[in-house]
């Protein structure tokens, strides 16, 4: 007799910025993010600062105490200035990938008065360090090379808010590239997968998620995605993106958190 895994629904917001992103509000400390997610009943958060991951580990640790799982990654700016979410299964791989990004970002000094602070903090909101180069700048990595690198490291590659009129796959490249090997596409709360499929019918085969892209505390969970999985882990989330063994993903349009 075949045994089926018991699967459960988990609410996720996989695109959240911390105080490390210059455009992130100074309220976006790991502890504040976790408390807000907990208050809103979110089970999985994704920490995705612009081209940086230094606040992932501390958020992961705090979130664990609140019963929340953290998917750790970065929102990378490609050479074409598209934004892409990337996630990795462990901190060693995340650090390897971070080094690749640091070696390939165009380094211009950050002026905090103009762009905002880029702060690395500890669990008690003490400032531990800051990053000197401007993180919202583009890397010199093409979107195709980024996809290859992320998948070499067994990570997840998800072009971000592809419907948006700035920094998106569609704004920068006009057309969703047919052969781009994505694990999913993210749409913003202003659009939905059907709009994308209407314009680009070949994306019907793809999985779609939606996230808040929160830069301010109140925005966390303003749109969420439900993962139907066995337990909260990188591998279960990956399986769900490919609908393996009954796992599934759907954007949460019913539940206004």
């Amino acid at each position: 007799m075949m045994m089926c895994d018991l699967l459960y629904d988990f609410i996720a917001d996989l695109h959240i910025h911390t105080v490390l992103s210059p455009c992130g509000s100074l309220d976006m400390s790991p502890i504040n993010i976790v408390k807000e997610a907990s208050k809103k009943g979110i089970d999985i958060i994704g920490i995705t600062d612009h081209n940086a991951s230094a606040n992932c580990k501390v958020t992961f640790d705090i979130a664990k105490d609140y019963g929340i799982f953290t998917l750790c990654g970065l929102e990378v700016t490609t050479k074409e200035e598209t934004h892409c979410l990337t996630f990795f299964q462990d901190f060693e791989t995340l650090d390897l990938f971070q080094k690749f990004i640091d070696d390939n970002i165009i380094k211009i000094d950050n002026d905090p008065d103009k762009f905002g602070y880029q702060l690395i903090v500890d669990k008690d909101e003490n400032i531990v360090d800051q990053i000197d180069w401007l993180l919202i700048n583009a890397t010199n990595i093409s979107i195709d090379d980024l996809e290859k690198k992320v998948h070499q490291l067994n990570g997840l590659f998800i072009p971000a808010h592809i419907d948006r009129s700035a920094y998106s796959l569609i704004s920068q490249l006009g057309i969703v590239p047919k052969d781009l090997n994505v694990d999913a596409f993210e749409v913003s709360k202003y659009s939905n997968p059907q709009n994308i499929i209407n314009s680009f019918p070949y994306t019907k085969k793809n999985t779609f998620i939606s996230d808040s892209d929160a830069h301010f505390i109140n925005d966390i969970g303003c749109i969420t995605t439900i993962f139907h999985i066995k337990n909260r882990s990188f591998h279960e989330i990956k399986k769900s993106l490919y609908k393996i063994d009954g796992r599934d993903v759907c954007i949460n349009y019913n539940d206004n958190i």
């Binding site: 074409e80 093409s142 979107i143 195709d144 009129s165 569609i170 704004s171 920068q172 490249l173 006009g174 057309i175 590239p177």
Partner: protein, 115 residues
């Protein structure tokens, strides 16, 4: 003017599709946002850009542009060249900036025939 006329400029070379050098250029468009080109460029325009993604070809073909000029020494991706060959879209590469390229093209189109 024709695409071939651009190749008379210094530091400018054809990357592919020499069989389309007779394409007519009646106007130009400068943009690095492909969605913008798709919305606003018109046929027979020479498109000046620093982008190198292969989607350039799909958009140039859709809008019936006369050629793509990639500026600032940006190297066209291999799959862009492959796609351009299939669609017969001339790809020109130059060390000039987009500003200088646009200036030269504007003068050539509007002020004299031989720049």
């Amino acid at each position: 003017m024709k695409v071939a006329d651009i190749l008379k400029w210094e530091n400018t070379k054809i990357v592919c599709c020499e069989n389309s050098l007779n394409n007519q250029i009646t106007d130009g468009y400068v943009s690095d946002l492909l969605s913008d080109v798709m919305a606003n460029a018109n046929e027979n325009m020479a498109w000046i850009t620093i982008q190198t993604h292969k989607n350039l070809v799909a958009i140039a073909s859709l809008k019936e542009l006369s050629c793509i000029i990639i500026t600032n020494n940006n190297t066209p991706a291999d799959d862009l060249i492959e796609a351009a060959k299939q669609e017969n879209i001339p790809i020109i590469s130059t060390s000039m900036s987009s500003f200088d390229t646009a200036g030269k093209l504007y003068v050539a189109l509007h002020f004299n025939d031989d720049v």
